[in-house]
């Protein structure tokens, strides 16, 4: 993520203070989907928290944005395609899904995602949303 100026940092901090931090967990996904199990491990955490009726938001940043790109098929490389499970987010009431715009731009990726309701945010808004959560885990 881009480095913030001091002014931007204090703006985010101030706005965060005004809005109460009420959401339970922010999960930052920072790895591409199929080389390792970070994405799947993060998904498992998301679904368990959601099934305990905790408010979970998903953040995709850095190479993690590749987890949202459509037309991928893990089975071509014999990997269980956990990305298909993303379509269950609605059922689990996982509604806040954020992706870092800058990470998409840096990788020349378009906004064609394999799930609906993905919000593309600037680095500043991404940070602001992140600050609304009590806990953050990163995978």
């Amino acid at each position: 993520m881009a480095a913030f100026t001091e002014q931007e940092t204090s703006e985010v901090a101030k706005t965060a203070e005004i809005l109460n931090t009420t959401k339970t967990l922010a999960l930052i996904n920072s790895k591409a989907p199929f080389a390792n199990t970070h994405g799947k491990d993060s998904l498992d955490v998301a679904l368990i928290f959601a099934s305990f009726e905790q408010v979970v938001s998903l953040f995709f940043q850095g190479d993690g944005v590749y987890q949202l790109i459509d037309q991928q098929d893990g089975s071509l490389i014999s990997v269980k395609d956990y990305l298909k499970t993303f379509s269950a987010f609605e059922f689990y009431d996982i509604e806040d899904i954020y992706v870092c715009q800058q990470s998409l731009v840096e990788r020349k990726l378009s906004n064609s995602f394999h799930i609906e309701n993905v919000q593309v945010l600037t680095a500043k808004d991404f940070a602001l949303q992140l600050s609304q959560h009590k806990h953050v885990l990163r995978f």
Binding site: T24, L25, T37, H38, D41, D44, V45, I48, F49, F52, Q54, K134, H135, V136, L137, R138, F139
Partner: protein, 128 residues
């Protein structure tokens, strides 16, 4: 009182685990209530009794043992992560037909539900 919960995702031979241990040690020695450590991903390898690290290297598991005994620090292991990594315990021996138990008994067999519990009780959750 403020409560701290810690998530460890790195294996016992990782230098990042040393940082986690020193962080927990510092918190406990200052009287901070550490309500538990949850071992996920490669963190689960800590619970394998057969792990043997060269004697001139950092002995992470000895340090966890000391913290567990000195402060009754709860050490929760994600059983799904552990089984994937060859760790077996009595409760699951029948399921996977493993030969013998190799779970270090300072660890409590848990699942991600325990992480939900820890996060809802903790003032702060810190991941390593």
């Amino acid at each position: 009182m403020k409560k701290l919960a810690v998530v460890v995702t790195t294996p016992p031979y990782s230098n990042l685990t040393i940082t986690a241990i020193e962080y927990v040690e510092a918190a406990l020695s200052q009287g901070i209530d550490v309500i538990g450590v949850f071992f996920y991903q490669d963190g689960a390898i800590q619970a394998n009794e057969n792990v043997s690290i060269a004697s001139d290297e950092y002995q992470a598991i000895e340090h966890w043992t000391k913290l567990h005994h000195e402060y009754q620090l709860p050490l929760h292991i994600c059983i799904t992560a552990a089984e994937k990594r060859g760790i077996t315990c009595e409760e699951v021996l029948d399921d996977n037909d493993a030969k013998s138990e190799n779970l270090n008994d300072i660890f409590t067999v848990s699942g991600l539900g325990e992480l939900v519990e820890l996060s809802s009780s903790a003032t702060r959750l810190v991941q390593f």
